[in-house]
Each structure stands twice: as C-alpha cells, then as structure tokens.
C-alpha cells in the first residue's frame, strides 16, 4: 500500500495559562492509503492534537514543528478552491470562519523535502482552548490546489456532534451545503445528494427537515458523519466519535463507519481511548502516551504481543466480559 500521508517529526505546543504544554513530541507516522488506523491513548496523550493537526484544524496559536506530507497525486483532481470566508458554516470548519475573516491568516508554509507534495504546516501563535470536543476556535489553513481541504479531502467527525451542527438549520440543508460548496453542485443536485447521504447513514428521509435538537445523540452523530463524507473525502477522521454514546449506539456507529469506509475506499483515522473498541475496527493501532508515539503495529500484534509495557498495561486495564471480576480478586462478597 502507498502512503496517503506521512507525518515527520511532528511536535505541537500549546500555551495554557502562560505555561507551555508540549502536546506532541516528534511524532513520525505513515498513514497508508485505504487503511483503518486507530490512534489510542489516555487523556492528555495528544490524540486529538494529532487528529486536528492532520486535518489542519489546530486551535489558533498552537506552535507546530515538523511536517505532514500528503501524496499530492491523491489530490490532483483540479477543483475549484473556495475561499474560507464563503465555506459553509458546518463541520468541521464551523466556528472558526468568522474569526478568520478579520485579518489575513498568519500562516507560514514550510517547504518539505519531498518536492511537489502538498504540505500542511499549521500556524504559529497562541492557543485559545482545549483540543477535545468541538470545532470552535479552530484555525484554518489557506487552501491551495494541492493541499487537502478539510471538509473536501478530509472528513472530520467530533465527539460532540452538536459542536459541528448548526442548531437552527434543518440537517438536510447542512449536509447539502457541504456537497454544494465542495463539489460545486447547484442546490437541487446538492439536496438530492443530501437525501442519498441520509439514506447511506440509515436515517429516514424525513430527517432532512429535522433540526439537531429533535434528534438523539446517535442520530446526530449519523448526520455529522453524512456531512463529513458528503464531499467524498479520501480520509475520514473520527475523534472519539462514539465516546459520548451508549454501548449499543456506539456499536451501531462503529459498524456504520466500517461500512462507509469500505464502500468509499476511504482511509480512516479512528481516535479513541478504548483499545478494545479500536481493535474491533482497526487494521493497525498506534499508541500515544504523553505526546509520544510509543508503539505502532498491526492490531493483532498490538493486542496479542504488545512490545511496550504501557500497551500491555492498557490491555490489562480493560475490563472485558471475560476478565476475572475485581470482586473475586479481592475475595470480597456481600
């Protein structure tokens, strides 16, 4: 398999209350075209930072070193490039558009070693929020012809679907706007596309006219996924996309993601704190700890023969349906 993107020596630092926090330290990682790669780690390990860095959605002010190289050939199809200011107010860009209109983006573009490859090298400055949970306060890179555009080449699904959905717009229209913007469709074609997408995420047609508050958490996440794949992205990033859902809905969303990724031949970055859940979906698993990539391997190897003690500890901490109950270990009983 060829690499869809290669991440080299990626470091990200935030400033939080005047203190510098190193969120990622020298990450090197190749993501293969068509693979399902899980990034797992505990809180603060840098998972979301990595996902946002890949999507070019890091918070305004994160300091980034290193490179994320895209295989330019994957993105060669000439398409009309939409300036950020007229992008639809929807996942994952919703929220940062207004804030980027005020002044010219202070992006500095690094030149990579790999010649013509489109590079992402996010901005320098100051950080204004937490990394998890929402699309607010993200910085957006100025799109160029060979740089992947978030929303078009990369679909992003957040933990909280409400953060990427507009509360006062029918969901059908929100999905249509993504299609219209990135695929250059007229409204009629975009609405038809929206209908097809709702069907693909197994929501009834009537959902077209529903507002987000009328939907359950699982239904909202289906809408967010429909919007994320509307433009036919090569890469789908799901950042803790099932963590706020109950077990049954979580399993449904995971199978939905599995099916859509297979049908469209997408590459998947599945970010999760749950190694067991990640193992049900991923071809490979990358384990992050304190901002460092400590182990990367085929799912089977990671689960059956972890090389790193920390990976083993994560596996041991999993409370499965076959684990020996803590109650027994302690010899306690009522």
């Amino acid at each position: 398999m060829t690499a869809l993107l290669s991440i080299r020596d990626l470091s990200v630092r935030y400033r939080r209350d005047g203190v510098e926090v190193q969120a990622l330290k020298g990450i090197g990682l190749g993501v293969l075209a068509g693979e399902r790669l899980a990034i797992i780690g505990e809180s603060g390990s840098g998972k979301s930072t990595l996902a946002l860095a890949v999507a070019g959605l890091l918070a305004r002010g994160a300091r980034i070193d290193g490179t994320i190289d895209w295989q330019a050939s994957q993105f060669q199809t000439p398409r009309s490039v939409t300036p950020p200011s007229v992008l639809p107010d929807i996942s994952p860009a919703r929220g940062e558009i207004g804030s980027s209109v005020g002044g010219p983006p202070s992006a500095t573009w690094e030149i990579g070693e790999s010649g013509d490859d489109g590079l992402i090298s996010p901005l320098a400055g100051e950080m204004s929020g937490r990394t998890e949970g929402g699309a607010k306060d993200r910085q957006r890179l100025p799109p160029t012809n060979n740089t992947p555009v978030s929303g078009r080449d990369i679909g992003f699904v957040f933990q909280d679907p409400s953060s990427s959905l507009d509360p006062v717009m029918p969901v059908g229209k929100q999905i249509a706007e993504v299609a219209r913007t990135h695929l250059d469709l007229n409204w009629q074609a975009a609405n038809a596309k929206s209908k097809t997408l709702l069907d693909r995420v197994r929501l009834p047609e009537a959902t077209l006219h529903a507002y987000p508050h009328q939907l359950s958490g699982g239904q909202k996440q289906r809408v967010a996924i429909a919007a994320a794949i509307a433009a036919g992205p090569r890469l789908l990033i799901a950042d803790e996309a099932t963590s706020a859902l109950d077990t049954i809905v979580q399993a449904e969303i995971v199978s939905l993601i599995r099916r859509l990724v297979a049908e469209d031949g997408m590459t998947l970055l599945f970010i999760s704190h749950d190694i067991a859940l990640a193992a049900t979906l991923a071809d490979r698993i990358a384990v992050l700890r304190h901002g460092e990539l400590i182990e990367l391997g085929e799912t089977r190897q990671i689960v059956e023969a972890p090389r790193h003690a920390y990976t083993r500890a994560l596996l041991d901490a999993h409370l499965g349906l076959d684990a020996k109950p803590l109650l027994d270990r302690q010899g306690a009983s009522a």
Partner: protein
C-alpha cells in the same frame, strides 16, 4: 433488613407535550455491603432512579425505604440526619464547586453541616479522610482545578464517606476516567465496601465495569426492569432483548493469555 428497598417507583415526564414514563414500576433492594448495578441504554431511566433515591426529585408513585424508614415521609431534622447516611458520587462530582476552592474546603462542608467534627478537629479529620482514599494529606491545601481527574474522584469519594454513609449512589462515577485510574478507583470502592460495609447503587452503561464490581444487576429498558439477577449470570446469559443487545454491543478484546 435491606439498606434500601425501592417499590413500584414511577416518574413521568412530558415529551413533545405527551406524558411518558421515565421510570415505570421499578422495584429492587440493596443489602448492606452489597453493590447493585443499574444498566441500560441511554434514556432508560438510570439517572432518574438515582435522583429519586436521593430525593432530588419526587416520584409520581412508589415507595422508598432507607435503613428501615419510609424515606419519602421524612422531613426536617429526621430527614437531615438520614440524608447523612446516603451519599452520592457523580461523573464529575466536583464540577459544582468553584474550581479555586481547596480540597480542604470541599471536605470541610459535610463535616460541618452534619456536625461530625468541631472546627479544631476538622483538619485532622480531613487528613484522615484523604489518607483513607489513598491521597496525601498535603493535598488538602490544593485547589480542585490543580489536581488530576483521578485525584478529584478520590476527593469526591472522601467527601461521600465523610458522613459514614450506609449507601452511596454512584452515577457513571468511573466513566470519564482513564482505564488505569479507573481500576484504582474501583479497587478503592471495593476496599471501602469491605471495611465499612457500605452498599453501592452503581450506575454504568459499561457491562465490563459492572461485571467487575457489582454483585447484582438490574437491566432497564425504557424505564422498566427488563431483567435482574446475579451480575455475572445475567451478563453471561442475558434473557431480555435489551440485555442481549447490551452484551452483544460490548467490545471484546481477544488476547492470548499465558
């Protein structure tokens, strides 16, 4: 005699103008030093039951007996005294506090409100409570925003045990914790249960966690009890449709164990 007996509990809300039962004819008992888990999908009524038991909301029907007393009939000083024996720990239990409040302050409240220790005795009590939950007594001076999630959950448990309760209601108390920390908190809960004979009403959507810590489980579906019984027996061989769906949806980690 059971610590808690809930009989035919019902709570109705309105949804889109239509009344519906969030909790519908629910009955269960919890014995001393026993953990009863409530499981079920989102919206099945778990938290509503917790709020009813804690008397944060009132039921439309049913009865709650706590330590042999008709809990819903209590008021005034009798209610206050009984309330000290019934505590709670939620997912982010210190969220209600000013983040600048110190750990000592958080633990001082219950000691003062329930007249457990005089002003001069309280610092010693607080130090003992912190040690009881595996924390350094020096943590007392720290602000709650300065301590980790696992430490915060330990402080919440210390606060809950300060009044020597017979029952603690835990609603998704370990759900937001990292797995490594989660194991330690579960061990702490078991340890406290063995030593102090505390009963737990343990709410979780995670059957793996329930299986690890609970003696018995009640599985809820749309406000009703779908099935109940010994936690491991029910999870190994669920009979209800919702029980089967919950078990089937739980991710499995297939490992080669030596």
């Amino acid at each position: 005699m059971s610590v808690l007996a809930v009989s035919n509990l019902a709570k109705r809300y309105r949804r889109g103008g239509e009344p519906f039962a969030a909790v519908d004819d629910v009955s269960f008992e919890i014995e001393q030093a026993e953990t009863l888990a409530l499981a079920g999908p989102s919206g099945s009524g778990k938290s509503t039951i917790a709020r009813l038991v804690l008397r944060l909301i009132g039921p439309d029907a049913g009865r709650i007996d706590f330590e042999g007393h008709d809990f819903l009939a209590l008021s005034g000083a009798a209610l206050r005294a009984r309330r000290a024996r019934l505590q709670m720990v939620f997912q982010d239990p210190l969220a209600a506090f000013n983040p600048r409040a110190t750990v000592a302050r958080v633990l001082d409240d219950p000691l003062r409100m329930h007249n457990i220790a005089s002003r001069t005795e309280r610092p010693r009590h607080i130090a003992a409570l912190l040690q009881r939950v595996g924390l350094d007594a020096g943590l007392a001076a720290r602000a709650i925003h300065e301590i980790s999630g696992g430490q915060r959950q330990r402080v919440a448990i210390a606060r809950a045990i300060a009044t020597r309760p017979s029952l603690i209601v835990l609603d998704e108390a370990v759900s937001a914790l990292d797995v490594s920390v989660r194991g330690q908190i579960l061990e702490l809960l078991l340890d406290l249960q063995r030593q102090e004979r505390i009963a737990y009403l343990f709410i979780s959507h995670d059957l793996g966690v329930i299986r690890a810590i609970a003696h018995r489980v009640v599985i809820l579906d749309a406000g009703r009890v779908a099935e109940s019984g010994d936690a491991r027996t029910v999870i190994a061989n669920p009979q209800s449709a919702i029980g089967k769906a919950l078990v089937a949806a739980t991710p499995r980690l297939i490992r080669n164990r030596p």
